[in-house]
């Protein structure tokens, strides 16, 4: 009973978060100056009649949130015929607007690019998780030694390193050795099969490495402190007294118990990782949604900017919700939240 209560609360919170993000996305592009649709519809170079037509076409003649006039006359359904409901309606139909620059549907552009970012983020997160868990475990076990100090220094240093700058340095260092830009050598097509995918793999090395070097540090620090917590428990002393080897204790006791929090941390870290993906994709011209966001900023392509932000935010929220649910399944103690 409590378990299901916990899940319901988490799902509700996820839904509220999604609603706030959607509302924010809508409001931001109407409150802040610079909405080009409004600017076009107000242009003095158009005739009054033309302006009116444009306003109707963009739905700007409707009230923003709620039609109070119609609500007063008892027309409850009509009162919701507003810009906001039109926006929600379009969103539910997968309509995110049209790019100013390429004149294509934003949803189409995103669909084409999103898997590339998923591949990059998945590769980066996997590598940094593996590295972070290993190094954190070693650092906690050898606490106070030179190995621990070295690992901590690395974590501190990479914490202070901007992702994009590390990318630039790796790009300079690897020039001539590895492909430094794009996703695939021009000319190759997916139909080429093996050749194509190894080429993509080579292009993936530098961006993945950049993300891994930066995002390992937080996993190291969390793993280190949580393993240290586990190692100071009495049952570790018992295991040791029973003659269990250090390696076995580390593997079966410490790793198992310290791994649980990593599920939540990895999901929370995703919120930073997508920020890193924007920088890494910009540096290495990786044609995913991060690079798209940078291009949208540069060309003031607001529908694309809005759509990309919505996609990234929704992805992170859903990932966190999944992690919460997974965590409560893995660890039955999590009930009260």
């Amino acid at each position: 009973m409590q378990q299901s209560n916990y899940l319901i609360r988490k799902v509700l919170f996820g839904l509220v978060t999604l609603a706030v993000v959607v509302g924010f996305n809508f409001a931001l592009f109407r409150i802040l100056p610079g909405d080009p649709v409004k600017a076009i519809a107000r242009s003095p170079r158009l005739t009054q009649e033309m302006r009116e037509k444009l306003r109707v076409e963009f739905g700007l003649d409707k009230p923003v949130f709620l039609d109070l006039e119609r609500l007063k006359t008892g027309d409850v359904i009509g009162a919701f015929d507003t810009q906001f409901t039109a926006y929600i309606n379009a969103l539910l139909h997968g309509n995110l607007g049209i790019s100013f620059r390429s004149r294509r549907a934003v949803s189409e552009i995103l669909a084409e690019r999103v898997w590339r970012t998923v591949v990059l983020v998945a590769a980066g997160e996997t590598l940094s998780l593996v590295l972070g868990i290993t190094l954190g475990l070693v650092a906690a076990w050898r606490r106070g030694t030179r190995a621990d100090m070295g690992i901590l220094l690395y974590a501190l240093f990479s914490w202070g390193l901007p992702t994009f700058f590390l990318g630039i340095i790796l790009l300079i260092l690897a020039q001539g050795l590895l492909p430094v830009g794009g996703m695939v050598t021009p000319g190759l097509k997916p139909e080429d099969g093996w050749v194509y995918w190894t080429d993509v793999g080579k292009h993936l090395i530098l961006p993945t490495l950049t993300m891994a070097i930066i995002y390992t540090s937080s996993y190291i620090l969390i793993m280190r402190s949580s393993v240290m917590g586990v190692l100071s428990e009495d049952y570790i002393l018992t295991a040791k007294a029973k003659g269990m080897s250090t390696f076995r204790i580390l593997r079966s006791e410490a790793l198992k118990n310290a791994m649980l929090p990593m599920v939540t941390i990895a999901a929370l870290n995703l919120a930073y990782t997508v920020g890193g993906a924007i920088q890494v994709e910009t540096v290495f011209s990786w044609p995913g949604v991060g690079r798209l966001m940078y291009e949208a900023v540069m060309t003031r392509d607001y529908p694309v900017l809005q759509g990309t932000f919505l996609l990234l935010a929704v992805a992170v929220i859903v990932a966190n919700l999944t992690a919460d649910i997974l965590y409560s399944v893995l660890d039955p103690r999590v009930k009260a939240g």
């Binding site: 931001l28 501190l156 202070g160 917590g229 190692l231 250090t246 919120a271 930073y272 940078y294 990234l312």
Partner: protein, 320 residues
């Protein structure tokens, strides 16, 4: 935080090499930022005459770090850039500190609905990807130093709020808070005079770390083309360098601003984590590490304390 506490923290701080190194690294940048008009050979806003041959020239005696893609002196921009980074870092972090401490204090002390509401807000902000949100806000709102500071400061208080709340939750159960309550101290007085001083050292350690976070956030925004167009920041130098100088292999334009960011943020992280270590000592040992070797290491580093002088103790007892 009493003077006594401050003195103790200071004494512990100067005994740690990491903290000292960090402090020196930060001080260098602060001094450079203050003395920028005297240190910089050129002013970044001066009108300059350039011919096409002056663009992206490598370092020479006249321009110690060469010239950028507009023929301007890189060293001078680097020196003035310290001002932007430090301003953004310290002001934004101060904002986050004030907001985070207030919310954490109120949430932890009052509990109930205020607590759960503000913690849900924290959860919410933690799930929203920061950088994309900042990109969207700044590109809609317009570029400017104060807008960048506001956005970074208003989005960065969550960690502090959580930290303060968890501290307050444990402090408010202590006996002296109960005593103060019984005597009739107001909630405001208890929060401000009895709880706040207890959490301040941790908050300050966290705020120092947040300065480096804010500096990195500003540089990322500037690198992505959303820096204040009227100022030259390190991130913006990297933006120009990346767009125009990388194919020319103009390392003198590309590397200095990047290493400047790393320098100041590593300095701040060293200070912040040293402070955290001092004010938040969780000196747990664990059972897998050979204690003899550990003792040997500690003994090798720390000078032996003189054996306690029992006669002196007896003397003071007598004097009383």
């Amino acid at each position: 935080m009493t003077m006594q506490q401050l003195r103790e923290i200071g004494r512990a701080f100067i005994r740690r090499p990491a903290g000292i190194v960090g402090l020196i690294m930060l001080l260098v940048v602060v001094l450079v930022a203050i003395a920028a008009p005297w240190l910089a050979p050129y002013h970044p806003k001066d009108k300059i005459d350039v011919s096409p041959g002056d663009l992206l020239t490598p370092p020479d005696s006249e321009h110690l770090l060469g010239r950028d893609d507009a023929g301007r002196d890189v060293l001078s921009q680097l020196i003035y850039g310290a001002r932007v980074s430090l301003t953004v870092g310290f002001v934004a972090s101060f904002m986050s500190m004030v907001i985070g401490t207030t919310i954490g204090l109120v949430a932890g002390y009052r509990g109930g609905r205020i607590d759960s509401l503000s913690m849900r807000l924290v959860d919410f902000l933690l799930v929203i990807p920061d950088l994309p949100l900042m990109l969207v806000i700044i590109s809609m709102w317009g570029r400017g130093l104060w807008k960048i500071i506001l956005v970074i400061g208003l989005l960065g208080w969550t960690v502090t709020a959580r930290l303060v709340r968890s501290q307050v939750l444990s402090i408010k159960e202590r006996c002296y808070i109960l005593r103060a309550r019984v005597i009739g101290a107001s909630h405001y007085r208890i929060a401000a005079r009895h709880i706040l001083p207890q959490v301040m050292p941790l908050v300050i350690a966290e705020a120092v770390l947040a300065v480096s976070g804010a500096i990195i956030a500003e540089s990322s925004l500037s690198f992505l083309g959303l820096g204040d167009p009227t100022l030259v920041s390190w991130g913006m130098m990297l933006n120009f360098a990346f767009e125009r100088a990388i194919s020319r292999r103009a390392w003198w334009f590309l590397l200095p601003p990047g290493f400047a960011i790393v320098w100041v943020s590593v300095g701040l992280i060293l200070i912040g984590s040293t402070l955290e270590e001092i004010v938040n000592p969780s000196l747990k040992t664990h059972h897998l590490f050979d204690p003899r070797r550990m003792m040997a290491r500690i003994a090798g580093r720390v000078p032996k304390e003189p054996a306690p002088d029992h006669t002196a103790l007896v003397e003071t007892e007598r004097a009383e």
